[in-house]
């Protein structure tokens, strides 16, 4: 076989990496290179340098070190039984690509993942080597996200956490049974242990010693994980239950949901029907309600009988429609907790309402100017000069938001 060019390798190894949803580059320690001795900065908020037509942001150079893999996970394009083209980057190639892309302002940093070759430790130590070279030889101060291999030795994970901004380990599927079925070589308990280990090291690195000395920051942008939705039969209640457990147990920054997407050369073990992309979107909305809007899991999932979220309307609206007794709310007196439950009000709108109503009584037009989505909210609130009257309890309220029913084709 002819030697692959760097362009060919990049094509294969970025194609192989696109099924990882995360591309976040935010929330790490602030640093810059004003001193002229290094390259790069990190300012807290992430930057998306481009968008692909799949609507996903491109913030990091997201590549695999290699797509050779000894595992056979049926949902994965890189599984050992797949016939995709294989390639492997050398350590220096990844370092050079990252730095040259960064200098041209294409990216915020590197998101490195890898198929498992030889052994988990051998793979992980090459990945750590790349991060070490970037940090110490290139004085790179941009963002690094390393996907850790769950079975790698704790020493390697410890070093990875000191070099990288974020570590992640994919739980892959919502239940242990599904992992056993689709990813036979992966062990859910091993994955959980690895996440526990990252959390403990991160907690330790945040303790200040008696002398006031701070240890080196461990994965300052935290850890995240990803689950594939729709490959197994789990309903949304199971999926969200799993993510609340992950958030509380391992203090994850994010759980990413990735609608199972057809891959080239897919395995016959997988379902043929792809889940609607809307499901992924609804899961993210529910995830947000749980983390930022003080919703409890069962409040969101008890709205429907089968434990799946309503695909036609968002989960907050779905909750409000079955709890109409709590509405309409007076925006001039309702508590923050209740205002957060109004469909069409976001966290920003609510805090604007709270600061403004200290000085005067709010009218309907004020809410429009504050950026609330009044098309949704108006049925659930009262304000000076506005009352929804019978709208809140009207039978046709749901139909105002849900897309009209479509008659099925006979053929």
């Amino acid at each position: 076989m002819a030697k692959q060019t760097i362009d060919q390798k990049l094509a294969i190894l970025s194609d192989a990496a696109k099924y990882d949803a995360s591309c976040a580059s935010s929330g790490s320690t602030k640093r810059h290179s004003r001193d002229g001795k290094g390259l790069g900065s990190n300012e807290g908020s992430g930057i998306c340098h481009a968008y692909a037509p799949d609507g996903r942001c491109i913030s990091l150079l997201k590549i695999l070190m290699t797509n050779f893999c000894i595992y056979d996970c049926s949902y994965c394009i890189n599984r050992v039984s797949s016939n995709v083209n294989r390639a492997r980057f050398s350590v220096d190639e990844v370092v050079k690509l990252t730095v040259e892309f960064y200098r041209r302002n294409y990216i915020e940093g590197l998101f490195l993942s890898s198929g498992v070759i030889r052994s988990p430790d051998a793979t992980m130590s090459d990945m750590v080597q790349i991060a070490r070279k970037l940090r110490y030889e290139e004085n790179f101060r941009g963002y690094i996200h390393l996907k850790t291999i769950p079975d790698a030795s704790p020493e390697l994970i410890a070093e990875a956490g000191l070099l990288a901004d974020r570590l992640s380990i994919n739980v892959e599927l919502p239940t242990d049974a599904a992992v056993a079925q689709y990813a036979p070589e992966k062990k859910p308990e091993q994955i959980r242990k690895a996440m526990a280990d990252v959390r403990l090291r991160k907690d330790e690195s945040e303790d200040v010693s008696h002398g006031g000395k701070r240890p080196a920051r461990f994965a300052p942008a935290g850890q995240s994980t990803q689950m594939i939705i729709g490959a197994d039969g789990s309903n949304d209640a199971t999926i969200l239950g799993q993510s609340t457990r992950l958030y509380s147990s391992y203090k994850l920054k994010r759980v990413y949901y990735s609608a199972f997407s057809p891959i080239p050369d897919s395995s016959s073990k997988l379902p043929l029907i792809r889940p609607p992309l809307a499901r992924e979107h609804r899961l993210y909305q529910a995830d947000w309600l749980l983390r930022f809007y003080d919703f409890q899991l069962d409040e969101i999932t008890s709205v429907t009988d089968d434990g799946n979220l309503d695909l036609e309307i968002d989960p907050k609206l779905a909750w409000a429609l079955v709890h109409r007794a709590a509405f309409p709310l007076d925006v001039n007196s309702a508590s923050r907790e209740m205002l957060l439950r109004v469909p069409g009000f976001g966290v920003k709108t609510v805090s604007r309402i709270l600061t403004t109503r200290r000085h005067r009584t709010l009218r309907y037009e004020d809410l429009v100017r504050m950026g609330a989505s009044m098309k949704k909210a108006r049925s659930f609130i009262t304000a000076l000069g506005w009352s929804p009257r019978g709208l809140t309890d009207s039978a046709g309220l749901r139909a105002r938001f849900a897309p009209p029913a479509v008659q099925l084709s006979l053929f």
Partner: protein, 476 residues
């Protein structure tokens, strides 16, 4: 009538100085004509400049940060609107908090436009290398067309990021030039011809391949990367062909029949099986069996089962309730706050933990997630019963003479009765396995007592029980 013309470079500072002067002099908004550098001289306005020194002014910080963004907007009315709002703000400083005020909403919107434009500039500037041969410092240049006058307020971002190289961002508005460590601004210019850059080809390859044709969301892309920016982004030229081919590519993936695995697979899997034992294949013995336990649903939510710890030939065995948050993460028993209290009391009474076998009645942590915390839940009788299987196996594997049951769960598991612990505390009962069981409180109970006196009394009782256990073991 006064007329103020603001310069193209240094607009923010110039506006601030002028506004401060006019406000101090009490000049109302309708008496000032604000112009940016592009405005032609207005023949009808009086060229009446003001050089008054007024008293210092106090405006809310939030106004200053908003004004510093709004001055870079491309709307010619921006200065007048800011001054008009500032005029109202004089007598009503709380106006900044009124998010329903139409003037403020309009200014905030302009601020948002400018910040977004700055953000997009940080994201979409694309450098090409222009290092002359033989130079020891690398040099880059970019052509960019901002919507608002954002080059000046955004240039420092590029200084913070790229100080180890020379760069210039050329625009039709203002150009930023960073040369040997110094930043300067120059007048705008026409689009220059920049040399080809080989890395641009690699970037396009990356852009094409990171795209997943099976999930086309063109609207989502365009709302974040509006078309007006495309002409200066090398990768954007390929977007139309990527969209056009997407559906066919996704269909081809779905239609393709599953292929046979490559020959390599058998080889790899044989090799994998042979090295399985190195990283956690099946091992003989009790610990491995407990680790793989799925007898009750608790294993699904916990990180790992927490095994007992200590010499198997210990004559004293201590049984707690279940692992806590920290035990669940570390996999070690009695290391959380309750475990530390136990160690403290044990040291006081002279009990050597290394000489005893410590374990829990239930091996997995049971909890309810609440935000980022886990709230401990008491295991129910069926979970205790399922786990008794392992506890009995641990007792059988060792040779304890006495077992200390700490708390109701341990008492239930060891004696079949978990009720009324306070009345039974300190008594030695006949356990289900036939061994004597000493009933005592769980250390976490001591931690939970709010009252210092009650805590002291309960700790004394706990000490008494441990002393009794040491004594009893010596007698047995």
């Amino acid at each position: 009538m006064y007329r103020v013309q603001l310069p193209e470079i240094g607009t923010a500072a110039a506006w601030r100085d002028a506004a401060r002067q006019y406000l101090a002099a009490g000049v109302p908004p309708d008496q000032i004509l604000w112009d940016d550098h592009q405005a032609a001289p207005d023949l009808f306005a009086a060229q009446d400049y003001l050089h008054a020194q007024g008293s210092p002014l106090h405006v809310p910080k939030s106004f200053i940060s908003m004004a510093q963004a709004v001055v870079w907007h491309n709307n010619p009315e921006r200065f007048a609107r800011l001054y008009q709002f500032l005029w109202r703000l004089r007598h009503k400083p709380t106006l900044m908090q009124d998010r329903g005020d139409p003037d403020l909403v309009r200014l905030r919107l302009m601020e948002k436009n400018v910040r977004r434009c700055q953000h997009k500039m940080k994201a979409f500037v694309r450098f090409r290398e222009i290092t002359p041969t033989g130079a020891n410092r690398r040099s880059f240049a970019a052509w960019f067309e901002p919507t608002h006058h954002t080059v000046e307020p955004t240039a420092d971002f590029f200084v913070r990021r790229f100080s180890d190289m020379d760069w210039r961002i050329l625009t039709p508005d203002v150009c930023a030039v960073f040369d040997s460590g110094g930043l300067r601004f120059e007048a705008g210019q026409a689009k220059p011809e920049l040399p080809e850059d080989a890395n641009e080809q690699l970037w396009i390859t990356y852009f094409k391949n990171i795209f997943n044709p099976a999930r086309l969301k063109v609207k989502a892309m365009q709302s974040e990367m509006p078309k007006k920016y495309w002409k200066n982004m090398p990768e954007a030229a390929f977007i139309p062909e990527m969209i056009a081919g997407a559906t066919a590519r996704a269909q081809a993936m779905a239609d393709a029949a599953p292929t046979l695995p490559p020959l390599r697979m058998a080889r790899v899997q044989a090799q994998l099986a042979s090295c399985q034992s190195e990283w956690g294949g099946p091992q003989e013995g009790l610990p491995a069996a407990i680790s793989a336990c799925i007898r009750c649903p608790l294993h699904k939510e916990a990180t790992q089962p927490v095994l007992g710890e200590g010499p198997t030939d210990a004559s004293l065995m201590i049984v707690g309730e279940q692992p806590g948050d920290y035990e669940d993460l570390t996999g070690k028993p009695f290391v959380g706050p309750a475990g530390q209290l136990f160690d403290k009391v044990a040291r006081v009474v002279g009990l050597d933990r290394k000489q005893t076998y410590v374990t829990n009645a239930v091996k997995h942590f049971k909890f309810a997630p609440q935000g980022r915390r886990r709230i401990h839940q008491r295991p129910n009788p069926s979970e205790i019963e399922q786990c008794r299987w392992w506890l009995n196996a641990e007792i059988a594997a060792g040779s304890p003479k006495l077992i200390v049951a700490m708390g109701a769960t341990a008492a239930l598991s060891l004696t079949g009765n978990g009720r009324n612990i306070s009345a039974r505390q300190g008594s030695i009962e006949h356990g289900l396995t036939g061994l004597p069981v000493l009933i005592t409180a769980h250390p976490s109970y001591l931690l939970r007592l709010p009252n210092a006196r009650a805590k002291k009394a309960a700790t004394a009782l706990f000490q008494r029980d441990l002393k009794q256990a040491i004594f009893a073991v010596e007698q047995l």
